[in-house]
Symmetry: C2
Subunit: 695 residues, 2 copies
């Protein structure tokens, strides 16, 4: 290797390559295509580009000490990195220079592509009946006349005061008991799980216990940190699923397991680490922020980090021990991978999961760092890929309690469908694929700053207006330079296909309307790929110095996704012998952003009155939270998972044909009466042979 | 430090010192007072002196590689140490020479003082009703019409075939399920714990499960390895309690916890490692022994170790996974220390334990290496120091089922007493101290080869006859050289005091009868200590080139032990308002060797007809085994622990006086009518002022 070059590897992306020695880590990241946040433009003032220099082995050579391979510490870094983190190898990416081979870890908060996740938990009604309850008890101290042991002593108190009988105690809680009893002068607060087992003993009186409901998506993980006593959501914390590096969708992850000897272990370890991060962030949020206090001249030693509480704010100052209950929901593949259950067979027809039932697993058995005696409630799986997350949707939306027929669509990387009412419920899954979330699209990206999230196309001029995440003003109210667009995210993609169709840029079969677009400045054939493409944002409006376009292939990908979803809905309605549904509920982060009108235009799901279409947000997460706060919801979850009939769509005889048909954009007035007035007549009534030229 | 000397530390004893470089490890061990087995007298032929050279830190200097500090490998060592163990640092102590500072671990099997523990488990009646049962089930494979998950599939089979409902499954067992089902072609054998939880799934049909009952004594740990299906005891494995290095008795261990920051953790880790050793040995015993196959000339590579099964013998070839259940009994302090429960308060009046109840603890939660889903059943504690081991004695002996009044004495480092019948049971503990087990006695030692285990003294000539462990012939039938006596063990000590008294060498108050012994060749005053002593074995009969003697101080120590025991028994009888008991049962390893007659002479316990005195062996271990094989015994154990009334003897107002009186040797004919004819009249009827000179 050239002496003037060094090998740099970025984790978790795994991108690697040789770079010239002496450039900064930020510069190296750009050369290797790794996104590191650098809000201040490398002026060393925003502190967003913190990375960790890791020791490690390269394929060929062993690194003695990673720290010799970067330039020395600079004063500017003191402002953003405290002593403790400095010792762990943290550096500012815009300051530290590459001086030798190095492995660099880019922490979640420094990744530029980080996802914007809707933070607020939805306000759904949940009865208060948590699995972990607190009981305060005072007992007599032992004497020669009553030398009964500590455990039996508090059990007697708990039975006398609260009628709790036959309690057991976890060994970890038992270890804390003798000292807690004496520290509390024979008064303790006991946390009891399911009225069965003591999982914590604290000296004196305490009135709050905490728990976290976690929704583990294929792409995003969201945790709702709750006070189990008041039911308040204290914080919502989210994270990219760290398994994304093994593949975007569930089949890719299952394949990774089948092709890599310790693949399952690795993926499981990564998501467990992710959950521990989420819990850590939730805990950190209950402490005041820390600020650095500079030493005065003459004073020795390193600068100190001191808590700077915000005025008038009180802090709970919780620890991991205070997290005493967890519920988790996920699709079946994520469920299996996290629990290290072989996911091979759930990926093979007839897709049997290893287990349907809910499980109570001791947190420590999974390496999840909470109160050591606490349990994790894992929601039950329905069938095939329709997992515990969909059970979460069920117990949050409760379609089985209503007379009206609901169609619940949870659009993620995998689409999950529920259809029915109090008399009958069926569920299914369809491979909507990653296109609807922005992946596998030329300029697709996650919902991050710079992503086009809304699009409008003028049907007459075919001029494009759009909005990007991170800027409130639409394009037509902005200077081109202000847009700094980067790509298109999920909600933008849904808008896109609907708008392309409404403005007759593509035909009902999804082909570019070449005739009608002839000479339009935004339409062209890419000289390299020979593909037709339509420009959404010009290079001058982008932050990547390129025109952002939608290609013919992109349109096909989106059609495949929407086709799978529409065909799925239709087949399920056929199964239930239904002409129409009373209500459509769209769940998922995707659902939060989706425009109901555009979804209808696109034919994402069968026709429905627009006011009967409802976005229910992260219903899977709401279900997890309901199970956290109300133990009856856990029983309901097991009941629901066993009483939903799972329909495997791909084996339906008409599936292929339905799917092909559903790839078309809607055009039949009688099939979509509610599009009247929404889509221009000349589009809605165009013949089967392609669109007429707009008049 | 002198360049010609090296610092050597022996573990686990912790003995250390400087030794001349160039001497063998055996020679160094002798200089530092460490016993290493060397049957062949360092002729390099017995292979008993295997030790492990450990890397480690000394207080002052860091050792780069321990192996540079011993002489190179010699060919003789190949015969006893295979490649694998060689790599772990094992060497022959009589070959390897000290060449620098070194830390040496002496494995249990190489320690010369290793204890001889009675191997056979006693034949007591136990009903067959184990906690872990095997169920074989065949299921249909999943289809699109029935894509039910694996767990629910076998649950349905288990309910249909065996009526087992509402089963749960441990996450570890669940992980094995999908592959086991497919490997077994949809037939599996399921291990179910307590008819509640699946803890193991194996492909195909299996008919045996295994478990181990472990009795953790303060000094000795014994494991009974059992077939849970046939109830057969496959092997009995024992070990010194590795905690002995922290102190001989329970109070010393509690003190170690209170004075050493991580003392509890260390002691717990050590005993857990001990249990893992015991389980490992039991497993190893089910495989054929391995023998080394020498390479022929010209062949390359190291010699191979090949299995050499004994002819006609079949081997179970079990693994740790096959150990699916464990029961453990111990005194309260050992219970607390093993479970890492603070033992401080059980050592302080009024001695409340942390818990009385039995516990089911997952083996993995304690770091015990068995089947990862298996449970450990920890027997319940009675009170104070009367722990789960005494509950083991209770459920083995079942005094609560009999009309006759039994006195059960479990003599260990701590004496535990039970008195009563089906109407009432009381228990207590007394600090018999380590003297009765051979500790704190000038020539006391454990029951190991060379220990005097039986003694007879001719009342006329006061000539001593004795028997040592490891030789069948008594002294009078042997040449002096053949005896190779080293010291006295527990059973020898009991004989000793009785014989000293019967032959009027000591008076009833335990003082040497100086007048009567005047001029006797075996009686003398030690010029160094100024103490009276009586020679039991002359230097020429010993393997240590010294006279083995009993000193005045020894007699006092033994009296203290026997006094505590006798006073305890008497006080308990007073409590129950009893003049005499119907039966005396002596439990414990000690009880196995004890001579009933000598025990009576000594006044170890109140008078009883000799044929009503029974030795019940390791009844605590039997109780653990009963709980292993019969789950009802676990319920009985909890019942018994709550229904025995614990009496704290030390707070009884007459305790001090009773104890002082009980230190005397028995002399009242009316108090010990059954001594008539056993003790010469002139002794039995001697006055209160000291013995008459023998006529």
């Amino acid at each position: 290797m050239d002496d003037n070059k060094a090998m740099v590897i970025f984790q978790p992306s795994g991108r690697r390559g040789e770079v010239p020695k002496g450039i900064t880590i930020i510069e190296a990241s750009r050369l290797l295509g790794v996104d590191i946040e650098a809000l201040c433009g490398e002026k060393k003032v925003c502190g967003k580009c913190v990375v960790r220099i890791e020791e490690g082995h390269f394929e060929k050579y062993h690194m003695d000490s990673a720290m010799d391979h970067v330039s020395p510490w600079q004063e500017e870094e003191d402002k953003f990195i405290n002593e403790e983190r400095r010792e762990k190898g943290f550096r500012l990416g815009c300051v530290a220079q590459v001086q030798g081979d190095i492995l660099i870890f880019v922490p979640e908060e420094s990744r530029a592509g980080k996802q914007v996740v809707s933070k607020a938990a939805r306000d759904i009604h949940i009865d208060h009946n948590p699995a972990v309850r607190l009981y305060y008890v005072e007992v007599e101290k032992p004497t020669f006349h009553d030398p009964t042991g500590d455990f039996e002593r508090i059990c007697k108190g708990l039975e006398r005061e609260y009628g709790l009988a036959n309690l057991t105690i976890d060994i970890q809680a038992l270890r804390a008991l003798p000292v807690a009893l004496r520290e509390g002068n024979w008064s303790v607060t006991v946390s009891v799980w399911m009225e069965k087992e003591i999982i914590r003993v604290r000296p004196g009186k305490h009135e709050h216990a905490y728990g976290i409901a976690i929704d583990v998506g294929t792409t995003t993980v969201a945790g709702y940190f709750c006070d189990l006593t008041t039911m308040e959501v204290i914080d919502t914390v989210s994270l990219m699923n760290p398994q994304c590096k093994y593949g975007e969708d569930v089949m890719a992850r299952i394949t990774y397991h089948m092709t890599t000897p310790d693949g399952l272990q690795r993926m499981s370890d990564d998501i467990i680490e992710g959950l521990n991060d989420i819990i850590g962030q939730a805990i950190e949020g209950t402490h005041p922020p820390k600020k650095k206090v500079k030493k005065k001249k003459g004073e020795e030693g390193p600068d100190e980090w001191v808590e700077k509480p915000e005025e008038g704010k009180t802090y709970l100052r919780l620890t991991r021990d205070d997290v005493e209950d967890i519920t988790i929901g996920f699709n079946t593949a994520m469920h299996h991978i996290l629990l290290k259950l072989n996911p091979e067979f759930v990926g093979l027809a007839p897709f049997p999961p290893v287990i349907h039932h809910s499980m109570d697993i001791r947190a420590r058995d999974l390496g999840i760092q909470t109160n050591p005696s606490s349990y994790i409630f894992v929601l039950p799986n329905e069938a095939g890929f329709v997992g515990a997350d969909n059970v979460g949707v069920l117990i949050a939306e409760e379609p089985y309690k209503h007379e009206e027929t609901q169609l619940i669509i949870d659009i993620g990387t995998n689409g999950e469908l529920v259809l029915g009412n109090k008399h009958k419920l069926i569920s299914s899954s369809c491979a909507t694929g990653p296109a609807l979330e922005g992946a596998q699209i030329a300029f697709g990206m996650r919902a991050a700053p710079g992503a086009i999230e809304r699009i409008k196309i003028d049907p007459e001029t075919r001029e494009v207006d759009y909005k990007v995440i991170g800027r409130d003003a639409w394009r037509k109210f902005s200077e081109p330079k202000e847009m700094r667009a980067k790509g298109i995210c999920g909600s933008g993609i849904l808008d896109l296909l609907a708008e392309l169709y409404r403005s007759a840029i593509v035909t009902k079969s999804g082909v570019f309307n070449k005739k009608g677009l002839k000479g339009h400045p935004r339409f062209r054939v890419n000289p390299d790929t020979k593909q037709s493409e339509f420009v959404l944002a010009w290079a001058e409006e982008s932050s990547i110095d390129k025109d952002i376009v939608v290609t013919q292939k992109d349109v096909r990908q989106i059609q495949l996704g929407k086709g799978a979803l529409y065909a799925g809905c239709k087949l399920m309605m056929k199964r239930m012998d239904l002409e129409k549904v009373d209500k459509v509920k769209i769940a998922g982060a995707f659902g939060t952003h989706v425009d109901r009108e555009e979804a209808l235009i696109m034919g994402l799901f069968p026709d429905c009155e627009i006011h009967k279409i409802e976005s229910v947000g992260n219903a899977a997460g709401d279900g997890c939270r309901a199970a956290l706060l109300n133990v009856r919801k856990r029983i309901e979850a097991d009941w629901a998972s066993r009483n939903v009939e799972y329909v495997e769509l791909t084996v339906e005889p008409t599936f292929e044909q339905d799917f092909m048909e559903a790839m078309q954009l809607p055009h039949m007035k009688d099939e979509f009466p509610h599009l009247e007035g929404v889509v221009p007549d000349h589009i809605l009534h165009q013949g089967p042979k392609g669109p007429k030229k707009p008049e």
